[in-house]
């Protein structure tokens, strides 16, 4: 696979809904070996983590009430939340830096709909995505 083919597979995975890395493994695998290739890539990506996480899930079910474990996890969760906020800030910076365009308004509307109003994601998506895509279509 050339760098260009890699970039195209990556772009397609970003474009599709659902877990991007999972999509990428399917796109990547199918380029090499069609359906069997996709299946092998998917199993290779998900198999080992699934085993590990299932063990962790069992341990959590057994020991999740332990005070020490609970404390450690809450510290990690607080850090993970901060990490995600930093990711959002990095993504938002270029979008909000441009002169007036529709993108920040769409992003803020999606945020309010999901985080504040607690509307179901599919409704928010169906309400906003067509508007946002229409803006992108006519902007060019």
């Amino acid at each position: 696979m050339t760098a260009e083919e890699f970039n195209e597979a990556f772009a397609l995975s970003q474009f599709l809904p659902g877990p991007n890395v999972v999509n990428f493994s399917v796109v990547f695998g199918s380029r090499f070996g069609d359906a069997p290739g996709a299946a092998v890539a998917l199993v290779g990506l998900m198999g080992p983590p699934l085993v590990i996480v299932t063990v962790l899930a069992m341990l959590y079910a057994r020991f999740g009430d332990l005070e020490a474990l609970s404390r450690i996890l809450i510290g990690i969760a607080a850090a993970a939340a901060g990490l995600l906020i930093a990711v959002v800030a990095k993504m938002a910076a270029p979008m909000f830096a441009k002169r007036w365009n529709s993108a920040p308004l769409i992003a803020i509307a999606a945020f309010i709909g999901v985080a504040i109003m607690h509307w179901p994601l599919p409704w928010v998506f169906v309400g906003l995505a067509p508007v946002s895509v229409a803006f992108a279509w006519f902007k060019r």
Binding site: G18, P19, P49, A61, G75, A78, A86, A129, V133
Partner: protein
């Protein structure tokens, strides 16, 4: 929906997988809404715990659905939730990969891709908000989150160091 938690898991996660533009991080608020607010499978704290475990685990972050599934219905729940979250989009990805060359330069495709970026940014922002509310239950954990934002925004530090620091602070009883 019926009473069977497996069918509920399958239905919710299969639907969610098709609307999660931006991947696992965009899907967090909807998972939280379903697992905590609608189905009452777990509380805020348990959801934050599972997010933390998924972040620490190797592999894609979407693996949080495996934890939620196991919590709800054991091994069968873990398998069903993971399959529902990955199955539909894998099928879409497989067929899209075959036709991609034909439409990759089409105006409609470029418009859709550009149009979905702000939507997914808003969704990931909502994820961050939901998680911070679930994880930060006092001033100290709020400060830890804020410090992590500053460090992660301004440096290229490996996130595992931040998780380690957070875990140690938690263990020491500061949070």
């Amino acid at each position: 929906m019926t009473d069977s938690p497996l069918i509920t898991l399958a239905g919710y996660f299969a639907l969610l997988s098709l609307f999660a533009v931006g991947g696992a991080n965009a899907a967090i608020p909807e998972m939280h809404r379903i697992a905590v607010d609608v189905m009452h499978w777990m509380n805020d704290r348990q959801f934050a715990d599972m997010f933390a475990i998924a972040q620490m685990s190797p592999g894609p972050n979407i693996i949080i659905v495996t934890l939620i599934g196991y919590h709800v219905a054991g091994f069968a729940g873990a398998a069903v939730a993971t399959g529902a979250m990955c199955g539909p989009t894998c099928v879409v990805a497989f067929f899209a990969a075959r036709t991609w060359d034909r439409f990759k330069d089409a105006r409609w495709r470029i418009s859709i891709q550009a149009g979905l970026v702000p939507v997914s940014l808003g969704l990931i922002g909502a994820s961050a908000f939901v998680l911070a509310r679930a994880a930060d239950n006092n001033v100290y954990s709020g400060v830890l989150t804020a410090v992590t934002v500053v460090v992660a925004f301004n440096t290229r530090i490996n996130p595992l160091w931040l998780f380690a620091a957070g875990g140690l602070l938690g263990l020491s009883g500061w949070l």
